[in-house]
Amino acid sequence: MEEARQNAPVPDEQGIARYRDYLYRYALLNLRDESRAEDVVQETLLAAVEGKERFSGRSSVRTWLTGILKHKIVDLFRRQAREAPLDLDREGDPDDEFAELYFDRADRDHWHTFPRSWGDPERSLEDKRFWEVFDLCSRQLPAQLARVFYMREFLGLETDEICKEMSITATNCWVMLYRARMGLRECLETRWFAPAR
């Protein structure tokens, strides 16, 4: 339990290192790669220890560390995006080819398969197996879509921040978020909420 911080005592190295597991889970969720996650957590802990005098005490230690980690993850995403430049024709522009995966152009763009009811989906959130399926589906997202989606949904960035970090237009951004959501939704429906019998 976090104690109330009256005078913002500087966290010691142990006080920082105890969050390693939490930070690792957070990093792994975003980076989908164990060794990258380990590296970025290590960098985060080191940066925190070196900069611990700057801890203001206005947030909890965990929040402070997560903030450092988020910045490093965003930096990594930016580098990755630059190294694998976005193929805008495929991933960044609205197009009919993608739409054809889900909608029947010959039938007034109705769904090929209408989304089914998921019943009471909240119940799944306490089921470990649901999260295994969720992580599987999320890892299936192509890297470029995943980065933008994770920045939005896991890291909580606004879309204009994402556009700036990734050097993409607002249109690219919403197209990628749309495709990520469509893919994730379909995967979850197929594999968890309404699997075909």
């Binding site: 792994l28 989906p121 949904e153 896991f154 879309t159 994730l184």
Partner: protein, 64 residues
């Protein structure tokens, strides 16, 4: 009237920014008559809530 493809795009867009009133009105009209797209919207809302409660992001788990 919107078709399902366009409705799904607007539902997704609405997750990230406020829609203009025309799009908002058109979307509401479509959702009023399309059960599939209503489910889609509910599922998008659920996804956002679910992610907030992802085990890796939870604040209440034990530390090492």
């Amino acid at each position: 009237m919107l078709n399902c493809r366009r409705a799904s795009e607007l539902v997704s867009l609405a997750e990230d920014r406020k829609l203009g009133w025309v799009d908002r009105w058109r979307l509401r009209a479509h959702l009023g008559v399309c059960e599939g797209c209503r489910q889609f919207k509910a599922q998008m809302d659920f996804l956002r809530e679910a992610i907030r409660r992802h085990p890796a992001l939870r604040e209440d788990t034990k530390e090492s």
